[in-house]
Symmetry: C2
Subunit: 145 residues, 2 copies
DNA sequence: AGTGATATTGAAATTCATTTTCATTGTCAA
DNA sequence: TTGACAATGAAAATGAATTTCAATATCACT
């Protein structure tokens, strides 16, 4: 399997773009961090290493990361886009605590199959889906009781 | 079953709010329209009947409609909140054409059950969920071929 | 009806994430 | 080198949604 960096470089090449210093720094920072984060969070991390990189460039590069398949962008209904690693990572959906915001990754083969079937029943070619379950996590429901 | 208007009036009463002229107009306009719409769309419809109602009031009332259970708010990844009737309407998720934006309502008991089970497996008390399937609709895939 | 406490409203200003503009700088092939 | 174009930072712009604030409206209670 190609490395994530390799994939990104090829993506740039295929689109007539080059791997600039800024993009390299941003991608590295992106790859170093697992989990979910916002563009702002990535920007502030990048800023520590390279204070000269502007946030517009972080936003622009994040978009490239998504297009290249390295990142996945989604939002959990909080008005902010969250990003996470995509390349080499299994697909999953999210279970979010409505109270504390804790996020758990979930997958269910049965659901995935039914989603495909549902799309097909309607004549659609399924390209992607988004599923978020909201609930109260054990910690919060315990605390409330 | 109580009428939607009744539910809204009770909701207002329970929260020490009153049914003002503006709220009445907005709720009626809301109830007259099936399907999905944005706050802006509702505002422009309301404006025709009552040009003196401000958009802030539409936004505020829409929020009350959601809280009272009359409306459901969700977004299909386009950066705008969509609203639809909720009270007296069966739960459903959406299948959206990534090309033309056509929206189809879908439901699947198997998925609903698995979602509840998934939440439970993680100790969560499921409160709500959001599922959107993106694909290419028959018309668009035919046109593209 | 009158009164005061409080809720509501419209208009305009504000917020906040994200995008765009634009003038400058970097890149690279010929 | 030169020219064509890509990339960048800073600041301005965008756009949905929210908040502010001064001006009403509303309601419970005399």
């Amino acid at each position: 399997m190609k490395s994530a960096r390799q994939v990104f470089i090829e993506f740039l090449g295929d689109n007539g773009m080059s791997l600039t210093h800024q993009r390299r720094v941003i991608v590295e920072s992106f790859l170093e961090n697992e989990g979910h984060f916002t563009a702002e969070q990535l920007y502030s991390r990048v800023s520590k290493q390279a204070p000269d990189i502007g946030q517009a460039t972080v936003y622009r590069t994040l978009k490239l990361l998504v297009e290249s398949g390295l990142a996945d962008a989604f939002d959990l209904g909080e008005g902010v886009t969250l990003y996470e690693h995509h390349y080499g990572h299994a697909h999953h959906d999210h279970l979010v605590c409505a109270q504390c915001g804790r996020k758990v990754e979930i997958v269910d083969e049965t659901i995935e199959r039914r989603q495909a079937a549902l799309a097909e029943e309607n004549g659609f070619t399924l390209t992607r889906h988004r599923m978020v379950l909201f609930g109260i996590c054990p910690a919060c429901s315990g605390a409330a009781a």
